[in-house]
Amino acid sequence: MIEDELRAAFARIEESTPPVGPLRVAVDRAVISRRRRRRRVRLAGTALAVAAVALVGFTAMAPRPPAPTAAPALPTPVPEAAGALNLLLVGVDQSAGSRRADSVLLVHLPADRSRLYLVSLPRDLLVPSQGGTEKLNATFSRAAGSGTDLAAGYRTTREAVARLTGVRVDAGAVLTYPGARELTDAVGGVPVCLPAPVRSVHTERRFPAGCQRLNGAAAVDLLRQRYGLRDGGLDRDRNAARYAAGLLRQLREQGTVTDPAQLGRLLLRVGPAVTADTGDLSLPALVAASGRAAAAEPVGLSFPVDFDDWTGRGFEPDPTLAPGFLDALRADRLAQWAAAHPDRVTALR
């Protein structure tokens, strides 16, 4: 009987089972190194999320500044955009010849505008592209002419994000290092508190430990420093977070986040350094919506990826968590999702 043959074969194969002890040790060792990697990715996500809070004002930036002939104060109330909105923020590093979208963040505004949800999308996330997959940060540079035209890169990244998430991207913006410099100067400098002194390897600048107000050039210099810091790139991410927190504080103190007129002036000043896309929305409507939601403490979330299945090519979406997360995003139920998955919420403070 073939069944008996099979049982006998399995019994013989069973004899070759190796001992369990070494395997147990190998598992524990592998877990430690995976945890380390997971923490690294999380930290980068935190920095990004905090940066996004500061950039929310940016989202409202029009590609075309408001016409100077327009009446300074509109007597009619602005019709506010209804329903949930999704905004895409892309930070690109343009120092190398080709630009890559190294910070990609989806800002979700729920229909009730109660708060902002900052969904960081890991730059190494694999997204579908023609006939295969590619890393999310590569979608930006794939666009023809993205080296000079930020809008072209933004469009391909926007399409990739829309395909991945299934939500409509209603508006968005791209920020470069020069953009960060302009913004910093436009708000009158940003307070940054450093736990340890930092020495620039690019310029002669030295940043002492403690709190200081940085102008645009100094801020960008600080954001670039990675070598010589105790934890290298990790400390750079932390400094980016400190900068972003200071920028947001500055914007809040000035009331810029909630005041369309102030924001408009800021936009006029910084406008050219940033590429923005307001989609079908009017600038005032977008400002009103994001400003109201930005008044509350935002919630940072990371797109659930499979940290444990690093293939060397990039991260796959987490097969168990990602579908539920995307359903919640599409149905404007991120509040419930965040409540059900407290361990997936990024601490912003």
Binding site: E3, A9, F10, I13, S16, T17, P18, L23, R34
Partner: protein, 160 residues
Amino acid sequence: MTYEEFADARLGALLRYAVMLTGDPHQAQDLVQETMVRVQLNWRRVARTDAPERYVRRMLTNQFIDWRRGSWARRVLLRGEADQSVPAPTDHAQSAVDRDQIRSWLSRLPRRQRAALVLRYYEDLPDGEIAEILGCAVGTVRSSISRALATLRAELVEVC
């Protein structure tokens, strides 16, 4: 239940199961290691399920079935020297030939069919539980087992 308790109780059984699936102690170790790392990292989620062991077995089976898409197949290829803790077979010539034949028939089966055979004839699980582990209908389990048996029978006739 903690991860440690689970590993103390079930790691041996899972390793034997992986040896049956892969037919190779090294690949089995890698398969179980990859699965158990994920189990440990996500232990809270695993422990919340009704039957953690079945859940883990399902993870392991999926990992085995998808092994070309995943990362652990590469790790097998890149593995260094052979594990010295596993002695070479010392059986006499004929039984070694038999073993090799049955192993090679098994290894030529589609992975899903092989997993179904292991679950029924080694683990002695009822078809309903096999279906749950493989993530398919009971009818599909039965038909794939009978297809696998038919393949093996044909091989047996050919050789004998």
